[in-house]
């Protein structure tokens, strides 16, 4: 629908409502209105009004990942969370923090570091955005993804109903854990307004051991070696700039400073056993490419390949063979030991070739075999590629997912069409 002026219901619901501009477009679809609630109650009033008016709603944090996923079928109202900007509570003694959805992880990290603590997620954006996209950086190997650190959640449903799940204690099995459902749901089930997380102490010391591998097989062996119990790394990242270059691995080790120094040396020696073109280097700072994830190629196509980590060598071979067949030279980067790699292709590449690469890689990794044991999900892509590509690929249990969507948002008002399977 087209809305030419601010409806009274919406103006009455929220102090900050404005007409949208070109800059508010969501993957090319321009909404009419933008509302910025400052409290959960105000957000509830906005969604209630939007529901009554039949407006399609797109939640937005600071917009860093707004072009992820399919363009929305409809977009009338952007609900931005940037005024939900309070760090509600940092219970340092309990290693728990409660924040509103619009707080950036960077700002929260600043607050937590005053007590020598951190939220062990190395991603960028607002808390709501990080939760909704489920993004996680290198530390996922040790600490998991946002859903693993989330212990309580407040959401607003499509009809304005406010609901909580979990709480502010780490150990809690009372009721369904709706946090799991909302983490990674891309704003299709409700608007996240507040979240409570488990925190971790900042490590006394961190070291990065970097090594070059001369083959996919060697790379897989080194990833396995780096994960020995005597090393206990918190992250293992792979970087392959282009097919002319060799694969580089960097391993992060955290902990007691004496222990970290000793483990770094042990690891460097361990990695030197494999034939590599240069000796392993130990540094106290990560390499420049560390943890870029989908930002590795801001304007181009970035896909996330997930697989069983032990199959790294065959996944690298499959990517290489698919690149050969499609005439592309992608950049590979990511938390290889966690079974995740990001494959990036520049915006200048021919969309048809990129689409062929995505489809070809899915086939090479097992196609539609059931049960699935891998996935290739395009995180963001230029419009030309998006039009030619199924961004999410096959999704297990899509029928159940549609049933969940139907229950939470029967009128399909929340980010319609943006998610897997057209949800």
């Amino acid at each position: 629908m087209t809305v030419h002026s601010i409806p009274a219901e919406l103006a009455g619901a929220c102090a900050e409502v404005r007409a949208a501009t070109v800059a508010d477009a969501v993957a090319g679809v321009r909404p009419s209105l933008v509302a910025s609630p400052a409290t959960t109650e105000e957000a509830s009033a906005v969604l209630r009004a939007a529901s009554a008016l039949g407006l399609a709603v797109i939640p937005r944090g600071c917009g860093t990942k707004l072009d992820w996923g399919n363009p929305p079928e409809r977009a009338d109202l952007v609900v931005e969370t940037t005024r939900l900007d309070q760090v509600v509570e940092h219970a340092a003694g309990d290693l728990v923090a409660t924040v509103q959805a619009g707080v950036t992880l960077k700002r929260l990290s600043g607050v937590l570091s005053e007590a020598g603590q951190r939220l062990a997620l190395d991603a960028a954006g607002t808390i709501g955005g990080i939760l909704s996209t489920g993004v996680a950086g290198p530390l996922r190997l040790r600490y998991g993804t946002p859903r693993d650190l989330l212990i309580g959640l407040t959401i607003v449903r499509a009809d304005g109903t406010v609901a909580k799940s979990g709480g502010k204690v780490v150990k809690n099995v009372a009721g369904y854990d709706l946090g799991k459902l909302f983490a990674g749901a891309r704003g299709t089930l409700g608007l996240i307004t507040q979240a409570t997380f488990r925190l971790h102490p900042q490590p006394a010391a961190t070291a990065y051991v970097t090594v070059t591998c001369d083959s996919a097989g060697a790379c897989a062996r080194l990833v396995a070696a780096a994960q020995q119990a005597s090393i206990a790394p918190v992250a293992v990242e792979l970087h392959h700039a282009s097919r002319a270059d060799q694969v580089v691995l960097a391993v992060a080790i955290e902990g007691d400073s004496h222990g970290v120094a000793q483990r770094s040396e042990i690891l460097a020696d361990l990695l030197a056993v494999e034939q590599t073109s240069q000796a392993a280097a130990v540094a106290d700072r990560p390499p420049a490419w560390w943890g870029r994830g989908a930002a590795a190629q801001a304007d181009g196509t970035v896909m996330q390949v997930a697989f069983w980590a032990g199959r790294l060598a065959s996944v690298l071979d499959a990517i290489s063979a698919t690149a050969d067949r499609t005439g592309l030279d992608p950049l590979l980067e990511g938390p290889a030991a966690s079974g995740v790699l990001h494959v990036a292709i520049p915006a200048t590449a021919d969309p048809a070739q990129v689409a062929a690469f995505v489809a070809g890689l899915r086939t090479a990794l097992g196609g539609n075999a059931a049960p699935a044991s891998s996935s290739v999900v395009v995180q963001h892509a230029p419009p030309g590629v998006r039009e030619l590509t199924d961004l999410f690929g096959p999704v297990p249990s899509l029928g159940l997912m549609r049933a969940v969507k139907q229950r939470f948002d029967p009128d399909r008002l929340l980010s319609p069409g943006r998610f897997a399977g057209g949800i």
Partner: protein, 487 residues
């Protein structure tokens, strides 16, 4: 037995075989309760399928006949999650106990739901790996049950709960469809139904295969036992350890009464005169464990520990843990009956809550022994009473509930690991509002629109799917049909 259930017998026999369908009342009695023995209900039928396909066929048969069904693993749950429905079918997964695959390179195992928790670690051990969640019943409890309850264990402080270690589930939906949630990678596209299903207490379907994450066996483990005069001192030590940025694998505390019971039961020989003992286990790379052990010893001394023991080998460690592991059962030595409570408070509120429990205990004239996972604020107060006295039994129930109210008022939870089941559904509205519970029901209805899968669990008054909230003039249909109770 209702007509509906009776008609199922030949069909279930055809699906699973004659020896897999139990109708004999005496045999059925074996299944009338799980680990929460205070709630009992004899099922109309028990069926013991051997394959995922059989489970799917059984569930489909139940769904078509509109007969409720409940899944049961080893039946060790402590909240009545596997309590049968009187006119329903109990689907027992005990015969599905194959470890299907260990993929050491990917650090994954694929197991059937009846496999015991410990069997996974045993199968993984030759590869230097183990399955981290370790509920105290791990020798007998099933992985399928662990998934249903999102089981924790003493070491979940550092290593996390079941939900952090499950990356794929083959399930039978309440309508009888076999499907996969997650793909084993931990990063499957779409909604995280795997995460939402884990801990749903058997109300969203039945697990038939589980992909679990395996973890490298730590290079070094040290276990410390520190004795204090009071639980207050022990609590101060816990806060100081966490405050120092140390994350032990486990921090357990026992008070004087639970130590007394454990001594009487297993002769654990904890330091004499201890008003509280703390068990701290540190694991990880050797150098780090050495540094952390020294730090924990120093903290324990500073906070008033009068004796510290250190175990570095498995036998010594087992000796330290013996008293803790025996604590629940040991209550039988000092009391005719006891209620195992399971509440959680923020760690910093431990001291206040323990004081409050002590006041409540005095006021009720009933003893309460405290055993708890101190690192994550998970209390297991054991309310001791004489079950031959009706008045005392009732008082124990009231006291147990009052302790939960304390947990809630401190921002905690009514259950940290035992689940809600039938035992605590009446407490759910004290922790969650009507809108919160309604929102959880949306998930339930997406999976189980007919409300046949483990009915009457977790939620106090399940609204029927599609029912609109409003004033009720007639009894709830589920209540009228005997499938639910209102509290």
């Amino acid at each position: 037995m209702t007509q509906n259930v009776a008609t199922l017998i030949p069909r279930l026999t055809a699906i699973c075989g004659r020896d897999a369908v139990i109708t004999d009342p005496l045999e059925l009695a074996t299944y009338e309760c799980d680990g929460l023995t205070s709630h009992r209900c004899r099922p109309a039928l028990v069926v013991l399928p051997q394959t995922a396909e059989q489970v799917a066929d059984v569930v489909r048969a139940c769904a078509q006949a509109k007969v409720p069904f409940v899944a049961r693993g080893s039946g060790t749950g402590l909240s009545g999650g596997a309590l049968p429905a009187a006119d329903g079918v109990l689907i027992v997964t005990a015969r599905m106990r194959k470890v299907i695959e260990i993929d050491a390179e990917s650090r994954r195992a694929i197991v059937e739901p009846g496999v015991t928790n410990l069997a996974v670690s045993k199968a993984a051990q030759p590869y230097g790996l183990f399955y981290a969640p370790d509920p105290s019943s791990q020798q007998v409890c099933s992985v399928g049950g662990n998934v249903a309850e999102n089981s924790g264990g003493a070491h979940c402080l550092k290593h996390g709960f079941t939900v952090h270690h499950v990356t794929g589930l083959e399930i039978v939906t309440p309508e009888g469809d076999l499907t996969w949630l997650g793909d084993g990678t931990g990063q499957a596209p779409g909604y995280d139904l795997l995460g939402a299903f884990t801990g749903s207490e058997g109300t969203l379907g039945i697990v038939t295969k589980i992909v679990v994450r395996l973890t490298a066996i730590p290079q070094a483990v040290t276990t410390l036992l520190a004795a204090f005069d009071t639980t207050g001192q022990g609590g101060a030590a816990v806060s100081a350890i966490i405050g120092a940025g140390i994350l032990p694998a486990a921090i357990e505390m026992m008070d004087a009464l639970s130590i007394e019971a454990a001594e009487a039961s297993v002769g654990c020989h904890y330091p004499e005169g201890a008003g509280a003992v703390l068990i701290v286990e540190l694991d990880g790379p050797a150098e780090d464990v050495i540094a952390e052990t020294a730090a924990v010893r120093r903290i324990a001394e500073e906070t008033g520990s009068f004796e510290i023991r250190e175990a570095a080998d498995p036998d010594d460690r087992a000796a330290i843990w013996r008293g803790r592991r025996a604590a629940f059962a040991a209550m039988g030595r000092i009391s005719p009956a006891y209620i195992v409570q399971d509440g959680v408070v923020p760690r910093t509120a431990l001291h206040d809550v323990l004081d409050r429990i002590s006041e409540l205990s005095s006021a009720a004239g009933l003893r309460v022994a405290n055993v708890f996972h101190a690192g994550d604020g998970n209390l297991h107060p054991l309310v001791l009473f004489d079950d031959s006295s009706e008045a005392e039994s009732a008082a124990a129930e009231v006291l147990s509930g009052a302790i939960l109210d304390e947990c809630i008022s401190h921002g905690g939870s009514i259950t940290g690991e035992h689940g809600v089941g039938v035992d605590k559904s009446k407490y759910m509205p004290r922790m969650f509002g009507a809108d919160d519970l309604d929102t959880m029901q949306l998930l339930r209805c997406a999976f189980d629109p007919a409300g046949l899968c483990n009915p009457g669990k977790v939620f106090p008054t399940p609204r029927l799917c599609g029912e609109v909230p409003g004033v009720k003039r007639e009894p709830h249909p589920l209540v009228a049909s005997g499938q639910a109770e209102q509290f």
